[in-house]
Amino acid sequence: MTAATAPPEALRPRRSWIPATLSQYLLWGAGVVVIVGPIVPVVWASLWSTPLYEAGGALTPDNYQRLFADPEWWDAVRNSVTFAVLTTTASVVLGTTMAVLFNRTDLPGRRIFGAASLLPVAVPGLPLILGWAAMYAPSGYVTRWLETHTPVPVFWDLYSVPGMAMLATGIAAPVVAMLVRGSLAAQDSALEMAARTAGAKPLRVLATVTVPLLRPALLGSGMIVFALSLEVLGLPLILGSSRDIEFISTYLYDRWLNEIPPEQGLVSAGAVVLLAVVTLLLVARNRLTGDGARFETVGGKATTAAPIALGAARWPLAGLSALYLVVVLGLPLAGLLLTAFTTTLSPYVDPWSVLSTTHLERVLDDPVFSRSITNSLLVAVIGAALATVAIAALSVVAHRSSFRFRGSLQYVMLYPRAMPGLVTGMAFFWAFVVLDPSGRARATLWAVGLAFAVRSLALGYSAFYPALAALGEDLDRAARTTGADWWTAMRTIVLRLLRPAMAVSFVLLFVAMLNDYDPAVFLVTPGTEVMGLTMLKLWVAGTAGPVAALGVIQVVVTFLVLGLGRLVWGVKPRV
């Protein structure tokens, strides 16, 4: 025997203090309870005759009966569905056009256009709506300017359902473009070349091969946009309230916050209906796009497709693209800035003569404003950090363990995507009511943070999972065979190697939680306001300037963090 085999004194490898199986059960249990658990009390509240914080009460279908008998509910449903159909149709058409135009043609500056066209996804929703309102509302700067300076008729009305759908399309079209672009990139260009060699001209190839192969992506993204459109709250609250246009979300919001006594049973029933519809839509989407074999385009090695020549239409189309970006993003951001930094915004007054920082000063001085900034930052930093750790831990149990119920965990983590923000907030409200009748836990920022974290979980998971899946399992198996127990192997190898993915997940969660507001609608207590909610409430109450200043802060922080994330970890915007 040589020196190499001389056994060192037999040492047992170090072991974690908690056995792997037990820690896996604990993580799984906590995940299920926190993420899916809160649905139970909403359903319960919707079927109970009195609010859950009052004694007594009995099981009753009364809330549902009253909901379905209310003509205003059906008005709201009609508005929401009309809005969702318009938004979906327009954004699928526009998004596909953008994806093809910016990725498959010789449009001048298509790279810059491609990147810039995705920006509306990254801009926080509320400030963008404020910017649109400042510019394109009936009394907005652009509307007034066109009316007085040009013969161009103002054909839109931002305060109507089609007007709101127009704004929503500006935000949703990039979502479609992103999904379609991924699908385009995965297409084997040999398919297009085969059509060319068979005698088809480039545009014909586009119409008969490229776009038809995109059908699953179009269907999938269309259903996502539809589901998201059904639950939007900020848009109808800001733009629809002046004309009393109610959506499902605002119907629930008003009945809860503006009725005395609040109709919490009725609202819970409405929330359960909304949840059921959105869940069905997303399940149907997974079914439909899951059956993708028919559209699979595996073939030879993918080569870069030759761009389609636009010919004489190149420059006019580039001009149109630039105009689109100015209208959708440029002017509204300018409108937001001008609202924030002028005393009055009107085409009859030179904005430079009324520049002022009073709105910003008021935001920083007013305790409610400044508190909501601090609260939002706290929730975003701590919440995103804890949520990232939770996602990482749950993901390794789901994908890197032999835990018995591991398969259920990925569905649990993706489920919040099917939960409208309003419903998430209501679910946590009732959960706190049931578990902590004193209301002390709900009065802390942790309550809001927890709801925001659960809501953003699916986003973080979908950013984290691809990196985990790409990491060879032999790496942790190797650690196990050299003597590391499961938890040690995860900690020292898998999670250590996935630090960059965790950073990406953190950045995305930070931005999402900084700008989120709808779960807080039902959860908020004095002292736990967050930026988005404060903006919403004050806008509805009629203060534009300080709200815009708050919006500017939100946009600046978001872009700083996303820019930093992009520089350091290559973070890309996701949906």
Partner: protein, 364 residues
């Protein structure tokens, strides 16, 4: 000291497909035992079951006097408690650690401190001739060097068994040949019981003390490389290892360890040695290696089947020439290092190297 390894009745099914069907394997102390077979034969499943990375349905795995797996006594040690060193096909060298940290990882887990750990790491790295690269990161190493890091890491603790899962499949042909000899020498030097999985028969023949040939979850033959090549236990093994001529015919005489088989189109039955005792049945297959066939056989005492066959084609392969000849309704491949001319060759099939198997050849 290294342990021996005993596997009995190992069974594993994935859904309705049986991956392992009552597999029995025994690796002697210090031996290099190879699991050889086509892909899907269950060799990797067996290896992973030993390492604890797969849970078999039934069976028993014992290393030395430690039971690693036995559902009857409710024993299923997790991989970290099995004290095996595993080299994965992908090497699985951790990219965020230096070579020294990779090799030191199992020692760190076992709380081997500072100088003792460094000394052991240096010792193992010297063993795989990588001492000078200790501070490098894996991405700075070639594939062959990464493989040696994986081996050093597997040997560091030190383990009771070394398990190698197709370790050479990612190396190019030249490097692979050198790695074989090198690994073989190292395994002898360390003297550790080693289970080696491969689908490459050259690798198996050149490296192993003994080979276990597997197919469809069943062990077909266990033996030394020579035994496996010269006297395959059945037609599958005969066909799987190397090149072999298979001629089907009717049994006309069957006594003791010899038989005579009438192959269609041949004037005389072929006399052959029975591969296994027991009656052959009505039809049998004659198997003879291309290099066992004699050309212009000398007239001596050794019993030989004499034949004449027309040449179909010849391929010159440098150190030898391969002829394809028409033999009745079939073709016969013959390999020789001497060049012969002529449209027809006089052949001799030595009776002791011509084997008879019951049944017909089943070709996939």
């Amino acid at each position: 000291m290294s342990d021996d390894l005993t596997i009995t009745g190992l069974t594993k099914a994935f859904g309705s497909t049986v991956a392992l069907d009552h597999v029995d394997v025994h690796a002697r102390e210090g031996e290099l035992l190879t699991l050889l077979g086509p892909s899907g034969c269950g060799k990797s499943t067996t290896l992973w079951s030993i390492a604890g990375l797969h849970r078999p349905d039934a069976g028993r795995i014992v290393a030395g006097d430690t039971v690693l797996f036995d559902p009857e006594v409710r024993t299923d040690l997790p991989p970290e408690d099995r004290e095996c060193g595993v080299v994965f096909q992908s090497y699985a060298v951790w990219p965020h650690m230096t070579v020294a940290d990779n090799v030191g990882y199992p020692l760190k887990l076992r709380r081997r401190k500072g100088p003792a750990r460094a000394a052991r790491v240096a010792e193992v790295l010297d063993l795989v001739e990588l001492g000078h690269l200790a501070e490098r990161y894996p991405h700075q190493l070639s594939g062959g060097q990464q493989q040696r890091v994986a081996l050093a890491r597997a040997l560091a603790h030190p383990p009771r068994l070394l398990l190698l899962d197709e370790p050479f499949s990612n190396l190019d042909a030249k490097l692979r040949e050198r790695a074989r000899t090198w690994l073989r020498d190292l395994q002898r030097e360390v003297g550790i019981t080693t289970v080696f999985v491969t689908h490459d028969q050259d690798e198996a023949l050149s490296m192993s003390d003994r080979i276990v040939v597997m197919d469809h979850g069943v062990v077909r033959q266990v033996g030394t490389p020579e035994a496996i090549y010269e006297t395959p236990a059945d037609l599958f093994v005969a066909d799987f290892i190397g090149t072999i001529n298979l001629l089907e015919g009717e049994v006309v005489a069957d006594d003791g360890d010899r038989a005579e088989i009438a192959v269609a189109g041949l004037p005389h039955p072929i006399r052959a040695t029975k591969a296994a005792p027991g009656p052959l049945g009505p039809t049998a297959t004659v198997a003879v290696r291309p290099e066992a066939v004699l050309i212009d056989p000398p007239a001596d005492d050794a019993p030989v089947n004499l034949l004449r066959a027309p040449v179909l084609d010849r391929s010159y392969l440098g150190d030898h020439t391969r002829y394809r000849l028409r033999l009745g309704a079939s073709t016969l491949t013959v390999q020789t290092s001497t060049r012969v001319t002529g449209a027809e060759l006089a052949l001799g099939l030595p009776v002791d190297r011509t084997l008879a198997y019951p049944g017909s050849p089943t070709r996939a």
